[in-house]
Symmetry: none
Subunit: 206 residues, 4 copies
Amino acid sequence: MEAKQQRQQALNDSRRALILDAARSVFERLGIEGASIREIAKQAGYTPGAFYSYFENKEAIYGALLAESLERLNAAVDAAGSATATPADLLDAKASAWFGFYAANPRDLDLGFYLVQGMQPRGLTAELNYQLNDRLHDALRPCEAALQAMGLNAEEALRENTSLFAHGVGLLLLQHTGRIRMFGQDASMLFESYVIALVERLQRGA
Amino acid sequence: MEAKQQRQQALNDSRRALILDAARSVFERLGIEGASIREIAKQAGYTPGAFYSYFENKEAIYGALLAESLERLNAAVDAAGSATATPADLLDAKASAWFGFYAANPRDLDLGFYLVQGMQPRGLTAELNYQLNDRLHDALRPCEAALQAMGLNAEEALRENTSLFAHGVGLLLLQHTGRIRMFGQDASMLFESYVIALVERLQRGA
Amino acid sequence: MEAKQQRQQALNDSRRALILDAARSVFERLGIEGASIREIAKQAGYTPGAFYSYFENKEAIYGALLAESLERLNAAVDAAGSATATPADLLDAKASAWFGFYAANPRDLDLGFYLVQGMQPRGLTAELNYQLNDRLHDALRPCEAALQAMGLNAEEALRENTSLFAHGVGLLLLQHTGRIRMFGQDASMLFESYVIALVERLQRGA
Amino acid sequence: MEAKQQRQQALNDSRRALILDAARSVFERLGIEGASIREIAKQAGYTPGAFYSYFENKEAIYGALLAESLERLNAAVDAAGSATATPADLLDAKASAWFGFYAANPRDLDLGFYLVQGMQPRGLTAELNYQLNDRLHDALRPCEAALQAMGLNAEEALRENTSLFAHGVGLLLLQHTGRIRMFGQDASMLFESYVIALVERLQRGA
DNA sequence: AATGAATGAGCCTTCATTCAT
DNA sequence: CATGAATGAAGGCTCATTCAT
């Protein structure tokens, strides 16, 4: 009996994942506006009605999508850098990891901002919001740890990490919207410069 | 005769402005997705058809809204700083001006990024896009001039200015989406720190 | 007093003619579906409201347009052929006149059929319909007279004339809708053949 | 399984046919201009949205309607005449078949001409247009064959067939618009006369 | 007589969602 | 669990017509 229930649950989860995958694919192909439930269901090999067996409504899937996006982000950050590196190298590696992730997957960035801005009525409960925040913070924590290893105290490290994140996000947004071309600049290069200047400043300060 | 035409023109302009105001208000209240023409017209005290006497289509009003927003931005930047200030003070004053403008009017930031991303079919013609880009650039140019006055050559100034803009935009976005509270930080303070560090770095470099 | 009234009347008529001309021009340019009152008024140098000083509603102008079209048709037929021609030559000349008129002005053909088919509620009163019918008949009467001059009695002439008209109208319709290309044929040539065969038949019969 | 799919398909087809019928009925009642999707859907007992499960857009249903009309036309022509008849009798039978079909169903004639004139945006793709043209041609081909059997070569037969079609179409149009009453004539009788005269001419020529 | 702003009803179309099967 | 037909509300937009000026 229990075994059967477990099998059922596993099946259910995998089918839910199937739809989630389809949603990501559609979302990537057509953007957040073009992603209709019809299209998502079709991509998953289902009919529209089936969608509602796995997600309560359309907005719900964006929450799930963002959660999954944050897992991939964390995986990318975790994989970066090596244990034997200096704190400065580690900072660079970890920061480049999250920046590179969003540079390569701009839709994942959209997702995060869309959810907070465009979606309030349902879909993003306060609790889910907290969870998502925590996972984002997790992805940024390695940078914060490296900053502390470089001599900053907790408060300073948090502040620098926030600035670092904001800087990257700003560059990514300018890049994603094409505004950076207006300046004839390259987002990745500017980000790298920022990290280098930051390391220098800290080393001089230390 | 001429007086009558002028009166007519003035009336017409003021009604157009009325609708523009309504659009801004609806946009603020319901976001860019909820801002339908029906809703904008209703807010302005009109029926939907009347809208089209003043704007060619839906996208057109966002173009007008952004154009007007950029004028207000430029006005804010122009008003900031004094002629006798040092270049460093001027940089701070001008940067704080555009940052403060967007901090106080977050929807104006949305507008700029929406128009670049979500608007293609009509309304944002290539020419209009150039004009809008130019006006944004105008608002940022005083910072660039100050950077040059502090000893940077044209290329360096452009790069630093781009970084400065990206940093501000990133902070504004984090603030606008509430993410910055997650870090227990304040966007304005962090921006000010960035400017101070920048000035320091330049003065040491000079 | 009376003189003044006459002047007024003349003015009025000429302005009505102005709008009628504009309507014909718009109708020619944009077809019957694309001809809006806005467009007609604009073409005439008026604003939409002025239209209603001269025509009761949109459909009314089509009646007037058709009436005027039939006057031009009659003028074209009257101008054709010469007094000294044989009846056979006259038949050919008069028939070619009305056929040529519609071949050169296909919109005038549309008008006639649109008014009868698509327009009933208002605009085409029974009385107006009679008047228009009479004027069309006037344009075809010279052919009927020629047929009688060739020896047919009144009844026979009417029948042959009806057939002749139907034949021409059929060819014009096929030409106007492009269907005649499907047969690789030319409408004018086929019409001419019909007339020749008709003359031959009558002459043999006589 | 297969049986179920077949049943589904049959159901689907019958519902599509239901809407097609509704469209034909509305079209007959209100003309081509009054036939809105709202009205068609209502007549079929549906809400407007349902329409789009069966037809891609408004023009598509007219394409389908015409296609189906041409099938009925062909069926009528195919059923006419007998194998043992003389070529002249066959010509008469086949010509009377298509003429009779359109005399009994004048809206089918409208449809054919509307689709060629009023339908451009989508719906009448070049390919569909060819197919429809071919089916119309199919319906007229038996007459052409009979003309050849009576001694005409291919080119002559095509020309006579075109004239025959034009004559019939002209008469049908005059009848449909009531203009023929103006001449106190009957379309069917005049068509029959045309065919008889044609046969006579050919036999004398042979 | 003419203006032209405004209406109101209508158009085609899309889509999240429901529900009987 | 899945279907998929159907709904209903909304979207952007057009246009003949009215009416205060």
